[in-house]
Symmetry: C2
Subunit: 556 residues, 2 copies
Amino acid sequence: MRRSVADKARKLVKTTTSNRSLSSNSASHRPSPLPRFPLSPPPASSSNSSPLSQFALRFLTSLPSPSSDSMAPPPSSSLTVDTLNPKVLKCEYAVRGEIVTLAQQLQQELLENPGSHPFHEILYCNIGNPQSLGQQPITFFREVLALCDHPAILDKSETQGLFSADAIERAWQILDQIPGRATGAYSHSQGIKGLRDTIAAGIEARDGFPADPNDIFLTDGASPAVHMMMQLLTRSEEDGILCPIPQYPLYSASIALHGGTLVPYYLNEATGWGLEIPELKKQLEAAKSKGITVRSLVVINPGNPTGQVLAEDNQRGIVEFCKEEGLVLLADEVYQENIYVPDKKFHSFKKISRTMGYGDKDISLVSFQSVSKGYYGECGKRGGYMEVTGFSPEIREQIYKVASVNLCSNISGQILASLVMSPPKVGDESYESYSAEKDGILSSLSRRAKTLEDAFNSLEGITCNKAEGAMYLFPSIHLPQKAIKAAEAAKTAPDAFYCRRLLNATGIVVVPGSGFGQVPGTWHFRCTILPQEDKIPAVVSRLTDFHKGFMDEFRN
Amino acid sequence: MRRSVADKARKLVKTTTSNRSLSSNSASHRPSPLPRFPLSPPPASSSNSSPLSQFALRFLTSLPSPSSDSMAPPPSSSLTVDTLNPKVLKCEYAVRGEIVTLAQQLQQELLENPGSHPFHEILYCNIGNPQSLGQQPITFFREVLALCDHPAILDKSETQGLFSADAIERAWQILDQIPGRATGAYSHSQGIKGLRDTIAAGIEARDGFPADPNDIFLTDGASPAVHMMMQLLTRSEEDGILCPIPQYPLYSASIALHGGTLVPYYLNEATGWGLEIPELKKQLEAAKSKGITVRSLVVINPGNPTGQVLAEDNQRGIVEFCKEEGLVLLADEVYQENIYVPDKKFHSFKKISRTMGYGDKDISLVSFQSVSKGYYGECGKRGGYMEVTGFSPEIREQIYKVASVNLCSNISGQILASLVMSPPKVGDESYESYSAEKDGILSSLSRRAKTLEDAFNSLEGITCNKAEGAMYLFPSIHLPQKAIKAAEAAKTAPDAFYCRRLLNATGIVVVPGSGFGQVPGTWHFRCTILPQEDKIPAVVSRLTDFHKGFMDEFRN
């Protein structure tokens, strides 16, 4: 049906507009040999400032028209790579970078020409996007969302047959918390108060310490919350943020966009990606000596891309360090439900600091949570929140003001954030099916993590730490010198060279370690544990075959 | 049920944590006489930098604990108003500012103590949030959203009885456009390709000119799209953005947050908020002479807060001006469906520029659209898109990169954006009910606009232009000198003084003109036309009574 609308519209265009505007101005009639955006692979921040290249570019992207002076350079105000905000240019985001663009291209080629590659599908292991790889949503959550989207069916008899009784009840409760039951209205800029009450109660139940709904800011996933904090903290490049290396590149991207300085601290791969306090102190002092005011410490627990789960003792040391140095602790706790080893447990930094006797005035702490991760994996819903404690009323007011400029986060995401913090309980009609779905997903993820970890460790030159939590493995590849030279010749980083070869040979998409940061001279890649379990044997055998062939080709 | 969870969690806390941590650190046990956030009214960017006030503040907000040195000033890195990013401090957003905070406080007082004010409800006319005031969502849109949220019911027999056939069909079509039918997966960072195809076809049908799905970037409402463009365009405060005065304060807020300079151009109130090209030229030259590089022109059409609909001729002049000066035209077209006068019609700037023979290489143009406005008013869904034309592939790549850092916009919002650009058509099962809902809303809005306009114009000292479109009236109040003096004494702007008195007397919330900008020495306020039609007579009589009393009190 859509196709026919588009076709009709196109026919309409052909009969109502002049030939000239169609031939000279229409995007769809551009004869350019240059592919339309996205380019693949993108040129690395190339600048086209000379009059000649400007002209060439303009010539390639559109035909000259009688009304334009296409030879003249653009006015200084117009937007070119040279007049773009340089912070944007500096920002990088490898999770959706060059390798992914290549993967999309290969996918298109497979669609148009099946059999054109030595694999029949692209397997996206580049991103923590469980449902894109076949994970099913939790039924109860989706029932409640659907009912809140279309409350008109709530009291229809057919609804009883389609939805569980507790989903219907929960939908009514949520609607009653929304002024006028209007799920289509902007909410309070921190989110609907009743949903924040539910989330605060969920945090209290998790931590055993009070949580205040006024400390909760609901956001469209965790990313906008991280941006908001970076925006508040960054005055200039003399402001620094301590970030783990390897890190989730949202942090480096956000720091670059806000014009601050990333102060790296290295996780110790030899001790299972240990976070060591002396390293924090060393890097803080080094930054200070360069005139950097370090404002904040980012900790990702469970780790991304590294998968480690911090021990309580370690967390206490981190809290003490932030308190002593007056740093805002930005705690990325979005993988709090993803723990795969029996000897580790998730503890929020708020709980740890409260057990140490530290309250609001002792430490400024922001905890990020998201509906995209956990066993729910609802990435497309863009729900999440930050719990903001230990700031003055004046700063809280500023955070509220920035939140208010975007009015509010999406209401479905808000509802889902309340649901993941308050799922069905023993005795609820959905409890058993909910528990079965949840346990099925988490135990399968745990098995997949172990199988992939073992597979990596069985390969020549690869060592891989355990994924204690989160959704990723971050194996280290000891690349032969010959491969490093070949990468140099191809003007790419050795790990990107490996990942590109892997993709071209197997259709498996992973992200080069250079996108996350790594100790110079070491090479890694991030691979999610998310392919469905029945696909894991094929993934392992494709990876193994490729790796053997690669090593045979490049072994010193 | 929520309440009992919270209570249980609180009981758990009381039995498992020490008295000390409860009494000295818990947010809920803080004995502070200072209200918890949000403050009401907020102190205007007050600074508490002296050691004494720092101490006083800390003392008021939390009890000292043995483990903290509350007398010592905080380390220079910790976050105070003095160490906050000054751009954040500078940003203002009146639509959710001081008056709204007061309204929320009054609402709470009414709830706790009915009869405590001379009105029984707060009427939020401060913001274009139709469903918060009782407007019902379009049934077809909600049916499709609910089905996409919970596709498991699509082939159940009960579903046929609950949902219209074309909603079921549309949900299937949309699911087929999503890889793996996974509405819970992150999508392409520009949005799901099939939905962008639908939107492009809708734009083609609207304009009669081709639209390219690769030009569409789906966003969480229009606000993040505006921020993204400001981020790309702004290098320093020497970069300027031409904005109408009065303007929608998202623009001033976003420019402040990104550190640029707002270059104002004044709309001519005497000619129905006319946008005059000589004024644009004058302000551009004035900015240039101050060393400002003007990068872009913002046009809001239909106007917010001013409600005018631009004539085609005028739009041509604007396009020509942008082309000549090399400015990026940022066209806020979110009210494209809200036109209330028969002699005016919405024309997109893309259509206008294409009819002038200008194509991609002649003019850089961004059109913003949102699901929050129109007859649909789905503010809580946070859906929208920008159509980006006339940029080089390199710049497009940078826009894509910035979009990719936040992964994607929410899928429900994406789906809804496709629906508003491709609603039911003649012959579809829902067409008649859809049309009746749509026409009912738009014709009622038109009547409400006229009634309120007439009411304002009947008041002493008030003149009000017609709302040809959008959702607002922006009457001018000729305040008596005595009122201006009283405002000065109360240390507030005269229009804010009037609005505060109006709220306290009637419960009606409007936004002072100073939040939007106005010719110095003139005073206005913005009032939405959104109260339900049966409430309009009461609004008019409350407004009229208040205004008469106000004028009697302050008449010179």
